[in-house]
């Protein structure tokens, strides 16, 4: 304490004028307030990060819990759904249910004639799993063959994203003048009595200007990084790339500068669709009151459309950057206008295993895998952990050996989890030859991982039981083991359970060691036994987060929400247990 004494004597206020003293006190109080503020900011920062994290995940997860379907009226014929013309279950199993849906879609869009477009209509709009709904209905009731009924057909992930508004921003504007189309199909000219397209023209110009600006910036950045490089191939390549971008920008700027006349629209600019008279036209060039375009869905007639009966739909994301072209979007718009599109809670997300198709992927495989793994972990680590704690706390002699065991356990609790993965790989897989990817091995590794946690928590719980209980039991003639197992252990049980649940929650969220023992394989089937190949929920999250499809991002976040819900429930139970059974002696 001698080092503290010196500054304090120097700081004593003797010899200061009252003003100076007051000023110094003010300064000290300001420092006090500042220090306090830092503390609050630190707690606030942690809370803010938690809120941002959870809000971000929930926001991203929301779309995963809903799926978009289109209600199609289907009439399965015997030739389509039966392999041998009989209504037996075995012959119905192998039927071509895709053909049923294909026919139904073609009836909805009679204008789609050529094979390529028909294939697109089916493949780009509907999920590959859509026909499962028809199959189920027919298998459940074979008398439906030849009859017409409606089924909800699952949309493909891209179409689903479009309806969820995640593919492109979409805005609508009603027409103000009367619009006169020149024809019903092919390339047509639209003439309005008002300057309806001037706003679109301005839009397009603005988009052009923005693109040109960002292209210029990109080129500058490239040139800067090129300048940092030594002269050579790499530098020349970057410079060439920059030059190309500058040329593109110049082209855009030139178009921007040109006034009057029609402005062409291409796939690198936001799409403009005109919806009129049951048809949809994609605009290819814009004037102020006149536009030309290609008909994507045929118009009913060439009748002039009155103001308000037609509209211009803008899709912000240029066609070139989208997975769905304007044609497909036009079909989707038509389906929606017919009132066939519905959005429903995605039970599929909870009842199916993994899939390469985002709209069909679910977390059931991960959930069951996690449950099996946790079962193995619990069965192994609870008895061993409690046994070790009882021995160390109640029976172990205090000597260097038990001291070493104690230090060892404390250190084991801080060993990086991936090292346990190395242990599992080297010992369980390579030495004992246990199966890869199996919940059995995962459970073993996680049991070793949470063992120190459970031992430490159990020891604390045993230590909290007052010695009087033990002495009382011993006093009336119980043996040491009887005193421990009959009296101390039951009283320590709530504490042990709390520690175990927290340890299990930790194990449930653990990913890294499981990657090393091969639980990263793509597994569609839901595991049925602890030796089946399986994946667990956190690993499923990791696998999905790596996939390029935008729809999987939502699935990832959705799986995270499910995982967090389980963790919160487990932690909640632990807190409840602690509150309910916590005893003060």
């Amino acid at each position: 304490m001698t080092d503290l004494a010196a500054p304090l004597t120097r700081a004593s206020g003797a010899g200061l004028s009252p003003d100076a003293a007051r000023a110094r006190i003010r300064r000290r109080y300001r420092a006090e307030a500042r220090f306090r503020l830092y503390g609050m900011l630190a707690v606030g920062f942690a809370a803010l990060m938690l809120v941002v994290l959870i809000a971000d995940v929930v926001n991203k997860a929301w779309p995963a819990f809903f799926e978009t379907r289109v209600r199609l009226g289907v009439t399965p014929t015997l030739e389509q759904v039966s392999t041998d013309g009989k209504l037996e279950r075995t012959s119905l199993m192998g039927g071509d249910y895709d053909a049923v849906l294909r026919t139904s879609l073609q009836e909805l869009f009679p204008g789609v004639k050529d094979r390529a477009s028909r294939r697109k209509l089916f493949n780009d709009l509907l999920s590959t799993g859509a026909s499962a709904a028809v199959r189920e209905r027919v298998l459940a009731d074979p008398s439906l063959v030849g009859k017409t009924f409606t089924v909800p057909a699952l949309l493909d992930d891209a179409a689903d994203l479009y309806f969820k508004g995640l593919m492109t921003g979409r805005s609508e504007r009603g027409g103000r003048g009367t619009l006169i189309p020149s024809a019903t199909t092919g390339e047509i000219t639209l003439t309005s009595t008002a300057d309806d397209f001037s706003a679109d023209l301005a839009d397009t110009k603005r988009a052009l200007a923005a693109t040109a600006r960002s292209l210029r910036r990109e080129a500058e950045r490239l040139l800067r990084s090129a300048a940092a490089l030594p002269a050579g191939d790499e530098r020349a390549r970057l410079e060439q790339q920059a030059a190309e971008i500058v040329a593109q920008a110049a082209d855009k700027e030139q178009r921007l500068a040109a006034t009057g006349g029609a402005e062409p629209l291409d796939a690198s600019e936001p799409s403009k669709l005109v919806v009129l008279d049951g048809g949809i036209i994609k605009l290819t060039s814009l004037g102020t009151n006149e536009a030309t375009g290609i008909v994507l869905a045929p118009l009913a007639s060439t009748q002039p459309a009155a103001a308000g009966s037609w509209k211009v739909v803008t899709l912000d994301q240029p066609e070139a950057n989208r997975k769905l072209g304007d044609q497909q979007i036009a079909w989707l718009e038509q389906l929606r206008d017919k009132g066939l599109v519905e959005r429903a809670f995605a039970t599929r997300f909870f009842t199916s295993g993994d899939s390469r198709e985002p709209e069909q992927a679910g977390i059931l495989g991960g959930l069951v895998g996690s449950a099996l793994t946790m079962l193995v972990t619990l069965v192994l680590c609870l008895p061993v952990g409690v046994g070790a704690a009882i021995y160390l706390e109640e029976f172990a002699p205090k000597n260097r050996l038990t001291d070493l065991v104690e230090v060892n356990i404390n250190n084991l609790a801080a060993v990086p989890s991936i090292v346990f993965g190395l242990l599992g790989l080297a010992v369980f897989l390579n030495f004992f030859g246990l199966p890869r990817s199996a919940p059995l091995v995962g459970g073993l590794v996680l049991a070793l991982l949470v063992l120190p946690t459970i031992i430490i928590a159990s020891r604390a719980a045993l230590k909290a039981v007052p010695p009087s209980i033990r002495e009382g039991a011993l006093g009336i003639g119980a043996s040491h083991q009887q005193a421990v197992f009959h009296h101390v252990l039951p009283l320590a049980m709530p504490g042990i359970m709390t520690g175990t649940i927290i340890g299990m929650a930790h194990a449930l969220g653990e990913t890294a060691p499981l990657l090393l023992i091969g639980m990263v394989a793509f597994i569609v089937d839901v595991p049925a036994a602890v030796t089946d190949a399986a994946t667990v929920l956190p690993v499923q999250i990791f696998l999905w987060s790596d996939l390029p499809e935008a729809a999987f991002q939502a699935k990832t976040a959705g799986a995270i929400i499910v995982l967090l819900v389980f963790l919160f429930i487990m932690n909640g139970v632990a807190i409840l247990l602690r509150r309910r059974f916590e005893r003060r002696w």
């Binding site: 630190a42 950045r221 120190p452 969220g509 090393l516 990263v520 987060s545 919160f568």
Partner: protein, 457 residues
């Protein structure tokens, strides 16, 4: 089969317990005064049955596959008899596939015979195991029941077994450490047999992919781990720069300023943050923070890699905040109130007391908390796997992509690997470095905490 065996085990144990207890009760009814309660007679008898049965399994497990395999090989016709170790293994693998019916295509007659021999030998082995187990249990039962008598010390016998079981439980924790040390040590030594250790520890170039072809000329110099150490250090430093001040200030505020009401809200917040799985933080880092940093950086005219060390480090820092704050909270609370009271008595403000009395007194504890946080940051895997890169850039620029030790371990060991290549073994060498570095930090930190606690207790 395993299930049948263990069901039999449980059934025999229950039956033996009941029989033993019944015998004890009969002795009591006959007017004898027992040394141990009838329950202990039952427990003793159950243990007497279970132990021999388990011993049979332990002895049988390594032995049985050998017998089965030799039978299968013997069943092969002369022209298919293996001539080398490698061929031996290949034949066995094929026979096993035939036995379980997963052999692709039609097996040759010789192979089919081997498969059949394998299958029947295995079935026989399983039946034999069950029979031997039951026989052993029966032997134990007979021996055990002979022991039961009024003055038999059944409780002491049973308690001795329990104690051994408890000691075995404690040994598991030690064995885990031993297992870790040996599994990484052996592979590491094998790796250093192929690749000089000094080149590994001090080499500046990391590109393990080169070594796939052993005949390749540029193989040497590919396993220089310095870029990984630098990358790990960079990410860890960023994380500690976030978690250190925030965690420490949060702990100070919570223990010195916060009202009980505030603490009741803030503590769960930190606990929830601590309970979030690292894969979730990784998702947040890769899909939210990294794009945000990239776009912000580019708006400022900086070139930012899409997998920057900064994003991974920041999110890792957030992850460690609760860790630092709860450890610091403990050490700050351990500072005796008398030191604070003395300082207040001298007219110091709260912040002056904290800065000049509490923190210096708690300093060793805080340092050890930070050391544990460093060890946590170095060993963290998922955040860096998802948000940091794979290329071993030797750089200290936080806006560039770096790779870390844990990322490389994961990358080298996930997926199909031949277990004998230098590439795979190098992952164990990295694991070895990681394990001993964190172990060192932990041992030192825990020792400081321990020593320091005793000072005030």
């Amino acid at each position: 089969m395993v299930a049948v065996f263990f069901l039999a085990l449980v059934a025999i144990a229950v039956a033996a317990y009941l029989a033993g207890r019944l015998k004890g009760q009969r002795l009591v009814a006959a007017g004898a005064r027992l040394h141990s309660l009838p329950t202990y007679h039952g427990l003793f008898l159950a243990v007497a049955c279970v132990i021999p049965m388990l011993a049979v399994v332990v002895a049988w497990t390594p032995l049985a596959p050998r017998v089965v395999e030799s039978r299968a090989i013997a069943a092969l016709p002369a022209d298919l008899q293996p001539k080398s170790e490698l061929e031996h293994d290949a034949r066995l693998r094929e026979a096993r596939l035939v036995a379980v019916g997963q052999y692709a295509g039609a097996p040759s007659p010789g192979l089919a015979a081997a498969g059949e021999a394998y299958r029947s030998a295995r079935a026989a082995a399983e039946v034999l195991l069950l029979a031997l187990g039951i026989a052993a249990a029966a032997g134990g039962f007979v021996w055990g029941s002979r022991q039961l008598a009024p003055d038999f010390r059944a409780r002491n016998r049973f308690e001795r077994v329990t104690k051994v079981a408890l000691i075995a439980c404690s040994a598991v924790a030690v064995l885990t450490t031993v297992g870790i040390v040996f599994s990484v040590l052996f592979e590491t030594l094998r790796f250093f047999g192929r690749y000089p250790w000094h080149d590994f520890l001090f080499g500046l170039q990391w590109s393990p992919q080169i070594a796939i072809r052993a005949d390749q000329v540029g193989q040497s110099g590919a396993f220089g781990a310095v870029p990984l150490f630098v990358g790990t250090t960079l990410v860890m430093l960023i994380a500690i720069l976030v978690a250190g001040p925030v965690g420490l200030f949060a702990a100070i505020y919570m223990s010195e300023y916060a009202t009980p009401k505030f603490r009741a809200v803030a503590k769960p917040v930190l606990e929830v943050l601590a309970g979030i799985p690292t894969v979730v933080f990784g998702f947040f880092a890769a899909l939210t923070v990294a794009p945000f940093i990239k776009s912000t950086g580019e708006a400022l005219g900086l070139s930012v890699a899409s997998e920057s060390a900064l994003a991974a480090g920041l999110v890792m820092g957030v992850m460690i905040i609760p860790f630092v704050s709860s450890l610091s909270d403990d050490v700050i609370n351990a500072v005796p109130q008398s030191l604070r009271d003395g300082s207040y008595g001298m007219g110091a403000t709260r912040s002056e007391t904290i800065k000049k009395v509490v923190l210096p007194a708690a300093l060793p504890g805080i340092v050890s908390a930070l050391m544990l946080a460093v060890s946590r940051a170095v060993g963290e895997t998922m955040i860096v796997v998802m948000a940091a890169g794979l290329a071993g850039n030797l750089t200290f620029n936080p806006l560039e992509a770096v790779t870390t030790v844990t990322v490389q371990i994961k990358t080298l060991l996930v997926g199909d690997q031949e277990f004998d290549s230098a590439k795979t073994l190098s992952a164990f060498a990295l694991g070895f470095v990681l394990f001993f570095f964190t172990l060192l930090l932990n041992v030192v930190a825990l020792r400081i905490v321990r020593k320091y606690r005793e000072q005030y207790d």
